[in-house]
């Protein structure tokens, strides 16, 4: 049944929806061409419908605005504001995720449908865009639309506007009490153990995993019996290729590194536009930890597990790179 026929059957109703089409299969990472050309909106009877749809949108937008201005929304203990994240942050990032980076996601079935999980990824790309894209990927692709709760460096929470946005988007300071509290509450927690060593590394070192810190993320997962899901992200390395790091300037500004990329700082604000690389995200099978709870303080177990996660990610990165011969390909 075509859209016209439906419209004729249900005249003047904005609530009716076409039955959902079969999920679109990506062909070579592109969105498929629609089989049926979208019908031209026919003159008089359809005009009322479109207006009604717009009416609804306006009403929805106004209701959202009113709720925000009246403060009638809910925020959790960490400052996460799901309504704001879904209505504002997510749609904005999704443009970058889908149209700019053409992101493809594999192995989403490895992310648990409910209950806690610790998603551990490789970090790169000068600013932590990979963390944001991972959040969008989970919200977009996961059958349960799960929110990823990121653990961020304290630098993020020291900066005025950044800290406000980060908390509203569901991030919190990377420390064991917060990580464990989130996991006990059954949340999906995202962590990048490489930290600034990962995002601040030079282009020449791309896709080489850096040291994984003290493995604090592993002990937090062990203490709560949370499965660890390693994730490999390919594409973030090419968005701002760091050719050099001006260390004295970084020290002067109090930041961990000062990047020099082909476009930054030469082109000024234009240099902040990320290069449109092709992104692949692969979730690896979860590593269960429920049977290791009593070893949370055993440095050997923690270190071995951290190493296992690190090697899984590194191997997956190599596989993904073979799948993507051209970093700026389609």
């Amino acid at each position: 049944m075509s859209q016209h026929e439906y419209r004729d059957m249900l005249p003047g109703h904005a609530e009716f929806r076409l039955p959902a089409p079969a999920p679109a299969q990506r062909v070579n990472g592109r969105r498929p061409i629609p089989e049926e050309p979208v019908a031209e909106p026919s003159a008089a009877p359809a005009a009322g419908d479109t207006l009604d749809v717009w009416d609804q949108r306006v009403a929805k937008g106004l209701a959202f605005l009113r709720r925000r201005l009246a403060g009638s929304y809910e925020v959790d203990d960490f400052g996460f504001d799901p309504e704001l994240a879904d209505a504002v942050f997510h749609p904005m990032l999704k443009v970058l995720y889908r149209d700019w980076f053409r992101t493809e996601v594999f192995g989403i079935e490895n992310v648990p449908a409910e209950g806690s999980g610790l998603v551990v990824g490789n970090h790169s790309g000068t600013i932590a865009l990979d963390a944001l894209m991972l959040t969008v990927a989970l919200r977009d692709k996961h059958p349960r639309d799960r929110h990823l709760r990121l653990l961020g460096a304290d630098l993020v929470f020291r900066l005025p506007v950044m800290s406000e946005l980060a908390r509203a988007a569901g991030a919190t300071v990377a420390c064991n009490p917060d990580a464990e509290r989130l996991m006990v509450n059954g949340q999906l927690v995202g962590v990048f153990p490489e930290g600034f060593k990962g995002i601040g590394k030079r282009f020449a070192d791309r896709y080489k995993l850096q040291r994984f810190g003290r493995g604090g993320f592993v002990s937090a997962a062990l203490r709560t019996g949370t499965p660890i899901i390693p994730v490999a992200i390919v594409g973030a390395e090419e968005i701002y290729p760091i050719l050099a790091d001006l260390k004295p300037l970084a020290r002067l500004l109090g930041v961990p590194y000062f990047p020099v990329t082909p476009t930054f700082p030469w082109l000024g604000p234009l240099g902040l536009v990320p290069l449109p690389s092709k992104w692949l995200i692969q979730f690896c099978p979860p590593i269960p930890t429920a049977h290791l709870t009593e070893f949370a303080d055993d440095p050997l177990v923690v270190y071995n597990l951290a190493d296992q996660v690190r090697e899984t990610i590194q191997a997956t990165l190599h596989e993904l790179l073979e799948k993507r011969p051209d970093p700026f390909g389609p």
Partner: protein
């Protein structure tokens, strides 16, 4: 654990709102024979009515020492802890004198009193300090990362330090330390309630602090139970849930005025020096970092759940509706007006342009 209630209770700081309310509540409890209020100052006229059943001794902390021993007090409720300097009673110097030296003397007296079984000390969640690396939620075991810069927070750390010393020296006395979140109610007047009652509320630019409040009635219930029952230990007392500062300002129907932190500090210092309002570093730190505590231990031990932060704040809003501009009702009315306006404009356009049948259908829809 429940033991027999103490027969003689000494309450310090009865010249202030909370102290007077606690004393009145304990005096109304028939299980307690005698409630004695200690305070160097005379309570204001508004609180005198509350203190009818309370014997008052107007004495400073030094004289209070003898009083506690002479009266044979079985429980001491130490409420003489001020969060904001009072310019009429000597400002910050007097505040420190009362908080730190006063607590030392009360604890010294309590230590020497043979009949004492119980001591309850008012503390504050300011004990957790304020730092960018703090965990999002504080449990009672969280240590502050650094010595806080706010004078009240530093006093609180000193006070809790003395209580730790007291616990070591008199382990048989049950010592309860209650860390209260900022208190709020329909009638209580604090610098925080005055802050939210302004029509234009200054906030920190680029920061949205997570706040928690506790309702005064719930705070009193917890204080009452800790005198009647035995609950040794340190407990966070706060309403569950979180309100962001901007959200609280909006719910109160006020307009937030975000200022850079430095401008806010300077402005607050200026107001302090002029004696207009006492917004100190403690409050600014709270508005930059926010403070959320875990109340699991409180709920488990006392078997009592304080009303949520949102509910406590709602009650405060109801009582302070005057002076609000952007209330939820007005916003809803504005929303309806805009939607009606759109509908009317569209109906008019369709009447002039579209076929009549369609216009009627639209009119029918807008009536429903």
């Amino acid at each position: 654990m429940v033991t027999s209630p103490p027969s003689v209770v000494v309450v310090t700081g009865v010249s202030r709102y909370l102290g007077a309310r606690v004393a009145a509540r304990l005096a109304a409890d028939s299980r307690i024979d005698r409630v004695v209020g200690l305070d160097p100052h005379d309570p204001p006229a508004g609180l005198l009515g509350l203190l009818d059943g309370v014997e008052r001794i107007q004495a400073d902390a030094r004289a209070a020492t003898e009083a506690i021993a002479d009266l044979g007090a079985e429980a001491v409720v130490h409420m003489a802890v001020t969060s904001v300097p009072d310019p009429q009673h000597g400002g910050r110097a007097a505040m420190k004198e009362q908080n730190v030296i006063g607590t030392m003397q009360v604890l010294a007296a309590a230590q020497g009193s043979a009949r004492l079984r119980k001591i309850v000390v008012r503390s504050s969640t300011a004990a957790y300090g304020a730092s960018f690396r703090d965990p999002a939620v504080f449990t009672e075991d969280t240590e502050p990362r650094a010595v806080p810069r706010g004078p009240f927070a530093r006093d609180i750390l000193d006070i809790e330090g003395y209580v730790r010393g007291f616990r070591r020296r008199r382990p048989e006395v049950s010592a309860t330390v209650l860390r209260f979140a900022p208190m709020i109610s329909s009638s209580a007047e604090t610098s925080l309630t005055r802050y939210f009652a302004q029509p234009l509320v200054p906030t920190v630019l680029g920061r949205d602090a997570r706040l928690q409040f506790v309702h005064v009635e719930d705070a009193l219930e917890i204080l009452h139970r800790s005198v009647i029952e035995d609950h040794p230990g340190t407990f966070n007392v706060a309403g569950d849930g979180v309100l962001m500062l901007a959200q609280a300002v909006r719910r109160a129907g006020r307009i937030a005025l975000p200022l850079p932190e430095s401008a806010l500090s300077t402005g607050a210092a200026l107001l302090r020096n002029l004696g207009v309002e006492q917004i100190g570093l403690d409050q600014i730190d709270l508005f930059v970092h926010g403070r959320v505590v875990d109340t699991t231990r409180l709920i488990r031990e006392f078997g009592f759940t304080p009303r949520t932060t949102a509910a406590a704040f709602e009650e405060f809003i109801q009582a302070h509706a005057a002076g609000s501009t952007l209330t939820a009702d007005r916003l809803a009315a504005a929303e309806r007006t805009i939607l009606d306006g759109i509908r009317r404009v569209r109906a008019a356009a369709e009447v002039s342009a579209g076929p009549p049948a369609d216009a009627q259908a639209t009119a029918g829809r807008s009536r429903t």
